[in-house]
Subunit: 499 residues, 2 copies
Amino acid sequence: MANQVMPNLLLKRAFLTPDRPAIAFKNETYSFKEVYEKSYQIAGQLLHLGLAKGEYAGVLLSNHADTAFIYLAFQLLDVKAVILNNRLTAEEIAWQLNDSKAVHIITEKTFTKKYEEINVVLPKLTVIPKEELFAANFIEPKITDEISLDDVCTVMYTSGTTGHPKGVLQTYGNHWWSAVGSALNLGLSEKDCWLCVVPMFHISGYSILIRSIVYGMRMVILDTFKENEVIKTIQSEKVTIMSVVSTMLIRIEAELGESRLPKEFRCMLLGGGPAAKSLLENCMVKDIPIFQTYGMTETSSQIVTLSPEYSLSKLGSAGKPLFPSQLKIIDSNGEEAGNKTAGEIIVKGPNVTIGYLNREEESSKKIVNGWLSTGDIGYLDEDGFLYVLDRRSDLIISGGENVYPAEIEGVLISHPDIADAGVIGVKDENWGEVPVAFLSGKLELKKDEITEFCLQKLAKYKVPKQFYFIEQIPRNAAKKILRRELRQYLKELKRQDCN
Amino acid sequence: MANQVMPNLLLKRAFLTPDRPAIAFKNETYSFKEVYEKSYQIAGQLLHLGLAKGEYAGVLLSNHADTAFIYLAFQLLDVKAVILNNRLTAEEIAWQLNDSKAVHIITEKTFTKKYEEINVVLPKLTVIPKEELFAANFIEPKITDEISLDDVCTVMYTSGTTGHPKGVLQTYGNHWWSAVGSALNLGLSEKDCWLCVVPMFHISGYSILIRSIVYGMRMVILDTFKENEVIKTIQSEKVTIMSVVSTMLIRIEAELGESRLPKEFRCMLLGGGPAAKSLLENCMVKDIPIFQTYGMTETSSQIVTLSPEYSLSKLGSAGKPLFPSQLKIIDSNGEEAGNKTAGEIIVKGPNVTIGYLNREEESSKKIVNGWLSTGDIGYLDEDGFLYVLDRRSDLIISGGENVYPAEIEGVLISHPDIADAGVIGVKDENWGEVPVAFLSGKLELKKDEITEFCLQKLAKYKVPKQFYFIEQIPRNAAKKILRRELRQYLKELKRQDCN
């Protein structure tokens, strides 16, 4: 059989249920027909501004209805969206745009300072703030009315142990199957409404948009997280499902106090790293229906979710792989580990990325016969439920954002006074984890100076909260940093705060 | 990308939700774990009896939980089921078994007479009644734990204008996408329960089994249609969805009288040919939530369904194509017809058959670039809703069963005293339509004699209810029967009943 084709998602949805409410933002609600008309208009303007079918173009936007329309206009034109985390520095974003060979970026005036800096690094890049896009001339666009599930739809960068971020290719099929796998697990009701307060530039937010279109479901977008507003919105908009990370859930749970969420609210989808057992237990007391999940950019959102009937008996587990997907635990010999034996989590399924943009070698190392090595550590219990122990050995998850030590170390070492650097995560009450750094080199450096230096090159959430000077960064024979030893230092050794 | 693979459907479902109720039949309800254990046991017994992965084997069974277990055991072994309509004559079934090169048939003792006759025609065929299968020895089976969506799962024969039936290939992907397309349209609730009183040997019944496994949904099987029992079962089993054909719905609606179905009952999926507007209106008065559909064996059940929000304003329409599927109306020049212009319905989508078994030439004529010519006539209104005018020009639908005039004509002409024959459908209060025949040849033939002759070779529902002798069967230059003229005869000309 040839590659599976399907109607363009938005085109089909607007045809099927034009009058259903689709996207709510602030005081506006748009029907699917209106979403289509907006996106169609933008598609014609993008075309006028020179974007072309098949190209990779950057998108740097905050949560807003416009962001949905622009993402969908890209799909109508079959322009591949390189979706940029708006918390990154100009330098980080420029690196991703350069790596993806994007020549256009759609952004917004609130990021003027950032995109002007990007333009300095990449003078050939055409920067199009949405305010100019919406005022541009219009060319009747030729809509891509049929898509192949194998075609790339979006690219999202994620760092790894190697330091530099890699562009994760997400096909239409990845997004489609992710939406279908979730629906088969959570069910699907005409009354459903999904609240999106997670960033739309993350797969957690983008996947809500896809579900809205595929299911014909209303989504409500919020541009900032404020726990009291979230609770009010759940009530006023009759929200039934919401995606959160632990940091958000802690604040919602606290804000609720003695009150409860409406009984129509049926699913709090909790992703973005491990959650404290105490939090899960507190939520249970308040009847917050938590669905723990495990997923990543490479799996186009959740791949493992705890089914409703097990939320109590398997508290703390991420659940079982969604219907179309598979999972194994592999020991250090590459063999399947027995029950209750920890090992690396590997996953397979139609929602798993086909690879990294322009990185065939790395892709073929990380994805073998369709099985993706996640680098995360976990085990399966006797009933096949997954318990995630450690994300990617050295990965730090801070407020739901992935922070890769190697990337921070690379920046630190680039400072002329720093000889070597090692970064680990430490527990933090608000953010889950925060990065701290160990440094060797000249001792006269001040914390403020290093912080300032890092802020030039790294998103704020990646900048270490503490710096410790030590004589030598522990490394093994292969020069790999021994992070476990750094953790030991923190616990046991006499510390020398550089501040 | 390689062919899309997925976990074996039953294996995965039994792993995900082992304890959920899966199949209810008479006084027994089996959980998904129990369904798996039953099917696994049968798979091992089939293996012992010589069935092998990849072979095509016949299945001749009536509605029963065992039938589900056997179908699923076939899937576990990756044996392709040639699913036989148990209302066919031994001769008709033997023809299909021979055509599909099946060497085994799984059947049941209630069909002893029929399978003994089949065995006379096909002496090399190994007949295995389920009573013997269940008593057979067991070999630990090697389960097909991963399926390719492109692999054939089932074959169902359907006749055409050419007379002889053709085996429609239905892949795992066809069934999967059909189930997903339906869920995206109807929604999916933990409380759902689908009543199967349509034959499991039809795609209408088999597709309920697939949905049960894919959704993790309870299905209730009834072996005969009795309107009072159906209503009782809906109440006692808390059925929410039911598949019906018009004939059934007429009887349910009448039986209900002044009473109503429980309010949890949310969908009466009406397929198998056009429904009278008066029936739809009567149902509306009684709050029976009718979802009109259009589909066929080649589309692995419904491909077009009327969404809930349009059941009133588009009464009589079959709706719009399900999310993954597409539809066009083609005029006699092969061009897309404008709105409100009748033409042939052509369809495309991942639920559409890949072709007919061992009939590559016919397949490539009927399916061009993924578009299947249905032969049915219809039009789209200004909003893109489908109205089906005529099934396959000459197709007769009697009580939900397809009856092909060419097949009956072939049998009639084989009688030594009949020179020529033409068959058309006439309206019937109970069955929607029934076939009647026009004959030319010796006039001394009696109705009873011809009926008796037909019953030897044709399923009862295919045997004409009336025979009319005329001088000559009207044919065009290409010798094609002019059925419209036969319809005119019935209306206007002096008739000569052969009885």
